[in-house]
């Protein structure tokens, strides 16, 4: 055979191959709904079940929150599969949830311990994606883990529904197309809390910050400083403390002779329990400084922490994303459902995780597919109600939910072992809103 013939034959084979390939591909491109279905990671379309991953801290400084998050996820799975009393599926609107899983597929889950550490969270999530084949993962109670998981989500093209993360960075500097946050943030805490602090403690105050030394602590300190200095408060000192320090006495003793009359604890979880308890042991709440009573403020508050801090938390002000004693129907339904299941009301960490699971499932139903770019588009700009926070919007530009924020106070005489916090004020969305460009950051592409 001549060289020409060989060439000619090769062309024929190539042409025939291309034609055959195009022929095989055409029907699925033209006739199949969700033609992209075969082209994304962990596509559950051909399976009877869909796998979700719940990556929560079961050890470390935020283990209390993690355990409650996992309870909430399990309850959400139950409700999505049409078991139990349905919880907030009954109040959530507009909803396309059917109680028959997601897109007709029964929901299953795997869980992992993120150890409240960014590297462990990433490793656990990667395992869920690569080994367990999850189509979405959620959870976490630390902004450091949230930022790490969002980056991983973007890399791997798997949606990450943040659990409890309060750092501004999560939806500002470090926002990602594949990451969504229902929880509020430190800027919102500052804006909600400042007017109450002015009413309670006046404009002439000297504040001392003790701050957890990582992304959340830094942005909370920055936000609270900005909000309180605007009121006229002076910041005497802001000291960083290592996460999980345990004994904070060496950081508390300098507060006593610093001239400060307010201590702001930018701590959460076990750190907050320890620092607040120890501050009270140091007699800080019995002191008079600058002619005023010494006060302690905990900008981010939760019932689980108050439970741990006990007496020390009574009368202390802070903010929260949600609380089980709110009077709206959705909150009542969820608190009842969770309480009957576990014998205790849900924490705000549990609430946000439950809501995130339902929101993701609903977005899949709205998109009619599990294909992440379409699910993301369904979530972006989605407005909903009936989830315990009043009217809420997932802002498209930064994937941050905008809704009401609660200012809370530790109850002096609790009527029962769960009613440890009272709502001082429900701050409207308009007071805590900010431009989408604030803090910078880019969401990145839809297609990972």
């Amino acid at each position: 055979m001549s060289a020409f013939d060989e060439d000619n034959d090769r062309r024929k084979v190539l042409k025939a191959g291309l034609a055959l390939g195009a022929g095989l591909a055409a029907p699925s491109l033209i006739y199949t709904r969700n033609a992209w279905a075969a082209n994304f990671r962990n596509d559950p379309t051909a399976k009877k079940t869909v796998m979700l991953g719940f990556n929560v801290p079961l050890t470390g400084a935020y283990a209390d929150e993690g355990a409650d998050e996992l309870r909430a996820f399990k309850l959400a799975v139950k409700h999505l599969n049409g078991e139990g009393d349905g919880g907030m599926m009954k109040t959530f609107k507009p909803s396309k949830l059917t109680g028959k899983g997601i897109l007709g597929k029964k929901v299953e889950y795997v869980s992992g311990d993120d150890q409240t550490k960014a590297d462990a969270a990433r490793a656990s999530a990667k395992r869920m994606i690569e080994k367990d084949g999850v189509i979405m993962f959620s959870g976490g109670s630390s902004s450091a883990t949230a930022v790490a998981c969002q980056a991983l989500a973007q890399e791997m093209g798997i949606v990450f529904m943040n659990g409890l993360t309060h750092s501004n960075d999560t939806t500002m500097k470090d926002r990602r197309r594949y990451g969504f946050r229902h929880f509020f943030n430190a800027y919102m805490s500052g804006q909600a809390l400042a007017p109450i602090l002015k009413d309670e403690f006046g404009r002439d105050r000297q504040a001392y910050h003790l701050t957890a030394d990582y992304t959340w602590g830094w942005t909370q300190e920055e936000s609270i400083k900005a909000a309180t200095e605007k009121l006229g408060w002076k910041t005497v000192k802001a000291v960083r403390t290592p996460l999980g320090a345990g004994d904070f006495s060496q950081y508390l003793t300098p507060v006593l002779n610093s001239g400060a009359d307010i201590l702001i604890l930018n701590h959460y979880g076990k750190d907050m329990v320890n620092s607040l308890t120890q501050a009270v042991q140091f007699g800080m709440r019995d002191k008079q400084v600058n002619g005023k009573r010494f006060e302690i403020v905990v900008p981010l508050y939760s019932r689980l922490m108050v439970q741990g801090a006990g007496e020390a938390a009574k009368g202390i002000l802070g903010t929260a994303n949600w609380h089980w004693t709110l009077e709206d129907e959705a909150t009542k339904v969820f608190a009842k459902s969770f309480g009957n299941e576990y014998g205790a009301p849900p924490s705000q960490a549990a609430h946000t995780c439950y809501v995130q699971a339902l929101l993701y499932a609903n977005a899949c139903e709205m998109a009619g597919t599990f294909y992440p770019p379409e699910v993301i588009k369904a979530l972006e700009g989605f407005k909903f109600d009936g989830m315990g926070n009043g009217p809420t919007e997932y802002r498209a530009g930064d994937h941050q939910c905008f809704k009401e924020v609660l200012v809370m106070r530790g109850v002096q005489k609790p009527s029962n072992k769960f009613s440890l916090l009272e709502v001082v004020k429900v701050v409207p969305r308009s007071q805590v809103e900010y431009p989408v460009t604030m803090g910078g950051g880019e969401l990145g592409p839809y297609k990972a």
Binding site: T253, N257, N416
Partner: protein, 338 residues
Amino acid sequence: MDAVVLQLLNGLDKGGAYALIALGLTLIFGTLGVVNFAHGALFMIGGFCAVTMQKLLTLSKKVKDESVTFFDSYTEVPYLRLWLGDAGERIIDYAVPLSILLAIPVMLLLGVAIERGLIRHFYRRPHADQILVTFGLAIVLQEIVKASFGANPIPTPAPAIVAGSAAVGSWIGLSDVVSYPWWRLVYFLFSLAVIGAVFAFLRFTTFGMVVRAGMRDRETVGLFGIDIERRFTIVFGIAVVVAGLAGAMYTPILSPDYHMGMEFLVLSFVVVVVGGMGSLEGAVAAGFLLGILQSFASMNEVKSLIPGIDQIIIYMVAVAILLVRPRGLMGRTGVMET
């Protein structure tokens, strides 16, 4: 001056904990020649003796809580309160100090069991083997506690009478800014008492004299027909009791969780090395010295000069001391030098 006094007090209570753990470590190393990496876990087990005592004293009857209307909730009323009223409440309030009564026998038994059942098989093995086996033991103990009590810290408050702070400043003619938590003062005094008791036991009893002699020359003491191994087993038990007591009384300062011992273990080893391997006096002196230095390094004035110094001061001092005195402050010749 106020700041200096406050940091000094802070250093003393921290140093008390370091000294107690380091004392136990040194006792074990000095007698048995074993580097015990499970000592932090034993400190933690002591903390959980306090938790167990609290749980025992608050064994409760479940009563339906009518104030929770959303779901069926039950509140727990301790039997002691039901049976004894206010007297029962007072007993519960003293759970932590009462836990000493539980910690002493439990830790002694645990110590003897660990030494007889595990450690003695490693006397003639290299230090690396001893470190591995004791570290493994620490992990096992941690996981048992985690499985039994959960991963979260459990609040164990001090008795109400010492829950507040003492006006230390007014006692010594300083301003009332200088106040310090009562329980931390109690802990400092407690650590002094335990250290004093251990030293007195070793110095003024025949048993102690034999142990000291055995620490110096085990073989010669054996030639006198004394069963030195049995005595060292008891010393191991005593070292474990010291760690347990340190942990039990520390719980109002730091709510115990399964991991609390590890946080102290590394620092305590530094204390032992700085004090001098095998030197009991050195361990105690280095414990207080490093506690105080760490506290002073946390002063804002110091940190503004050298940021982050509070995190590394102990290790910097350890390096400096070992460069100048390679055997530590009071280390003996020949210890760990073969």
